[in-house]
């Protein structure tokens, strides 16, 4: 069981209108205990209105720089602790802090040669900033490709620090901002294109695909780190997986829930109507069976070959109902849109489905 330690606040810095960063003074005898990997978080304990509350905040400082431990805290609407920190804490206060922890971190080594893709949005920048600084400083040959989403120019946390890093490491650090509601001013007209360069929109599927295409990896050992609020993580991960980024190269900040797996459940004993070789077949699909297997088990001869979702021999058209394909390496997005399915990979999602082999 990890214990809480009383740490003194060294300083509090306002980062944006609704966020601050808090630096802690770690006494030398606790250096070892409070050693951390870039990407990890601290857990803080407060007593607010007589109630004990705990919250975890990612460290935005880097363990390889001579800098105090620092966390970033953005106000959450009606958030008990984030507002308490933003409103009430000041330098010199002591706070109960549990030593750094977390499975979201980069394994940074001097001799590594990698391309790091960093995806962050809003306050998700905190652990990403720690990874960014640590990689750039430690791995002299690695590349970092980062996209950072915010509402507007004013809500970009650590903007000054990011700009300085971009300037200093311009040969191997790419930073793209994407803003969902950018502010435009008359004065923008006088800015150089670099100063006001940002993409419009969120860190969504389009942005992720655009970014990976725009900045392909040079060092082929690529890793993908994602941190942001709400659905941004799951969306980014889905977008990466849709372009075949292997699961074991993707790292997400997750304080609890694990990544979702394909747990799609079939509709039990759904009715299948299949038009095959001039015959109309009506049959129930047993639990756990695909459309193709159901037909084969019934002694029918549907076309098929690989049964792995690859060859498209078993392709047919869905004319009513809904199905789910476990795997599709054969059909294009357009074919799927037109209603084509791979019968070897399809399980029913509705009470009845109708298909036609052409």
């Amino acid at each position: 069981m990890r214990n809480f330690y009383q740490l003194k606040i060294l300083g509090i810095k306002k980062e944006t209108e609704d966020s601050t960063s808090v630096a802690f003074d770690v006494p030398s005898e606790l250096y070892e205990t409070f050693n951390y990997k870039p990407g990890q978080y601290l857990t803080l304990k407060f007593s607010i209105n007589g109630e004990e509350v705990r919250r975890s905040y990612s460290l935005c400082s880097s363990p390889v720089l001579e800098e105090p431990l620092r966390i970033g805290v953005k106000r959450v609407k009606d958030g008990l602790v984030s507002n308490h920190i933003n409103d009430n804490l000041k330098a010199g206060d002591t706070v109960d802090v549990m030593p750094p922890d977390g499975r979201f971190f980069a394994d940074v080594k001097k001799d590594s040669y990698k391309t790091y893709y960093l995806f962050s949005a809003g306050s998700g920048i905190t652990p990403i900033l720690s990874i960014l600084k640590t990689v750039l400083l430690t791995e002299a040959r690695s590349y970092v490709h980062m996209i950072y989403g915010n509402r507007s120019q004013d809500s970009i946390m650590f903007n000054t620090e990011l700009n300085a890093l971009q300037e200093h490491y311009s040969d191997r650090f790419i930073l793209e901002h994407t803003l969902s509601r950018p502010k435009s001013n008359w004065s923008d007209l006088w800015k150089t294109s670099k100063e006001q360069s940002y993409r419009k929109g969120r860190v969504d599927t389009d942005a992720v695909k655009w970014f990976v295409n725009e900045y392909p990896p040079y060092a082929q050992n690529a890793q993908y780190y994602i941190c942001g609020p709400g659905t941004m993580i799951e969306n980014t991960k889905k977008a990466l997986k849709s372009i075949d980024v292997p699961e074991d190269r993707i790292f997400i900040e997750s304080f609890g829930g694990s990544a979702s797996v394909d747990t799609t459940k079939a509709y039990e004993n759904a009715k299948l109507t299949a038009h095959l070789n001039g015959e109309t077949i009506q049959i129930a699909i047993p639990q756990g069976k695909t459309v193709l297997r159901t037909l084969i088990d019934a002694g029918k001869k549907p076309p098929y070959s690989c049964e792995g979702g690859v060859c498209s021999t078993c392709m047919c058209k869905l004319t009513s109902g809904k199905i789910h394909m476990n795997n599709n390496l054969a059909l294009s997005d357009k074919e799927v849109e037109q209603g084509y399915i791979l019968s070897c990979q399809s399980i029913p999602l509705t009470e009845s489905i109708e298909i036609e082999y052409e």
Binding site: D111, S112, Y113, R141, V212, N213, P216, P217, Y218, A219, Q220, N221, A222, L240, I243, D244, V245, P246, S305, C306, E307, G308, G309, V310, C311, N327, L329, A330
Partner: protein
């Protein structure tokens, strides 16, 4: 005379003639180093692939939709059949021609035809958890070139090439375009009747430049050459002769490489261990790949890249170069008088090198052969290279 004890410098003569040494090198050098596999544009789009023989291993490189390259041993896990041919485009999955076993682009086995009927006891897990995925290899990029390594946990490529990197030219090969005389063919490919080390030793021999190539490479100032070793790799630089430099803007056969600083105009000619040279000059950037075929046969493939500018720029430069006075006195002149079909009269430095290599190889089987002496500066690299080969084999033989 006892041929067994006859030495080139550090290596015995039989290292250049015997099948035994050829096999040793295939196993311990060419199957345990980063091997040149092509240029990055060879695998341009998602699903594009190339396959290359790298020592004992045939390895294919494929680009995923995430723009990252993957490398696998080109061998079906069923009965070992090679999966892919030399080059191809747009694959979504890899299917063995023999029995249609199919793998995805991560090398995972995704389908076995008639699995339930024919392989009921194979494995009751998902196919990709059955231990029959493709063997992974490594692929990475160095200076616009693709390299593969048979080990999926290969030592990282920048650790291997890092030491020599500062000695390479300022060229950015990714920005240059390939120069081909015939479409889809390398600039130069020739089987040379000599051991691959004879070819390398010729490439790194500074002493011969002023002699074998007295009329062909005399646009470079051999006396001012700077060369040495960085790790297992050789580096070399020599400036242009003043006469050529003075009229370089006209005399250059191709548009000048824009990254060349005016105060260091010349040729960078490093050799990267074990078998890839680069020739980085004022107007071209070439890879020189020496592929051992047999103890006395080596395939040399040269690919050439030049500035990415319009055909018109090339035409203008060609015209200026043709009329430059520089070429009236230097370059293009054979060592011997005679017909251009004679390599020594051809005025072509490649033909001169090939000739010298083959003439040397011919003598290696003579009982009277021995190396008489070594030029201490100009041929230092020759014996150094031999010791790198020797040490590499000894080290990896002992690891095995």
């Amino acid at each position: 005379m006892n041929n067994q004890k006859n030495m080139m410098h550090t290596l015995p003569v039989e290292a250049y003639t015997s099948k035994k040494w050829f096999d040793l090198e295939q196993e311990h050098i060419f199957s345990k180093t980063w091997q040149f596999a092509g240029l990055i544009e060879d695998v341009e789009n998602a699903g594009d692939y190339i396959s290359v023989q790298a020592g004992l291993n045939n390895i294919f490189v494929v680009k995923g939709r995430d723009n990252r390259l993957r490398a696998f041993h080109n061998m079906c896990r069923h009965r070992g059949t090679q999966l892919l041919r030399a080059v191809g485009k747009g694959q979504k999955a890899i299917t063995c021609p023999y029995h249609d076993w199919t793998y995805d682009l991560e090398g995972k086995l995704v389908s076995i035809p008639k699995k339930e009927e024919e392989f009921p006891d194979l494995c009751n897990k998902e196919l990709h958890e059955c231990g029959l995925n493709l063997h992974e290899a490594s692929v990475d990029i160095f200076k616009g070139m693709l390299f593969v390594h048979p080990d999926k946990n290969a030592p990282n490529i920048m650790t291997f090439f890092g030491e020599v990197e500062p000695y390479l030219g300022p060229h950015i090969p990714e920005e240059l375009i390939e120069y081909q005389k015939n479409k889809d063919e390398p600039f130069y490919a020739k089987e040379i009747n000599a051991n691959w080390k004879i070819v390398v030793e010729n490439y790194i021999d500074q002493y011969h430049l002023a002699h074998l190539h007295e009329g062909t490479l005399n646009m470079y100032d051999h006396a001012k050459a700077e060369f040495g070793w960085a790790g297992p790799h050789y580096h070399f630089y020599e400036p242009l002769v003043p006469e050529y430099l003075a009229d370089i803007k006209n005399a250059s056969p191709f548009p000048l490489i824009d990254k060349m600083p005016e105060n260091k105009m010349g040729a960078y000619v490093p050799w990267l261990f074990p078998n890839i040279g680069i020739t980085e000059s004022e107007s071209a950037w070439n890879t020189f790949h020496a592929i051992p075929l047999a103890p006395d046969r080596t395939l040399v493939v040269i690919r050439s890249k030049t500035m990415n500018v319009s055909e018109w720029e090339y035409t203008k430069q060609y015209t200026k170069s043709m009329t430059s006075k520089v070429w009236k006195t230097i370059g293009n002149k054979g060592k011997y008088e005679g017909d251009a079909s004679d390599p020594m009269a051809s005025g072509d430095f490649m033909a001169e090198d090939v000739y010298a290599c083959e003439q040397q190889q011919k003598s290696l089987s003579s009982p009277f052969f021995s190396v008489g002496a070594q030029a201490q500066k100009g041929e230092f690299a020759v014996s150094k290279f031999q010791s790198v080969v020797k040490e590499w084999i000894e080290k990896h033989r002992n690891d095995a």
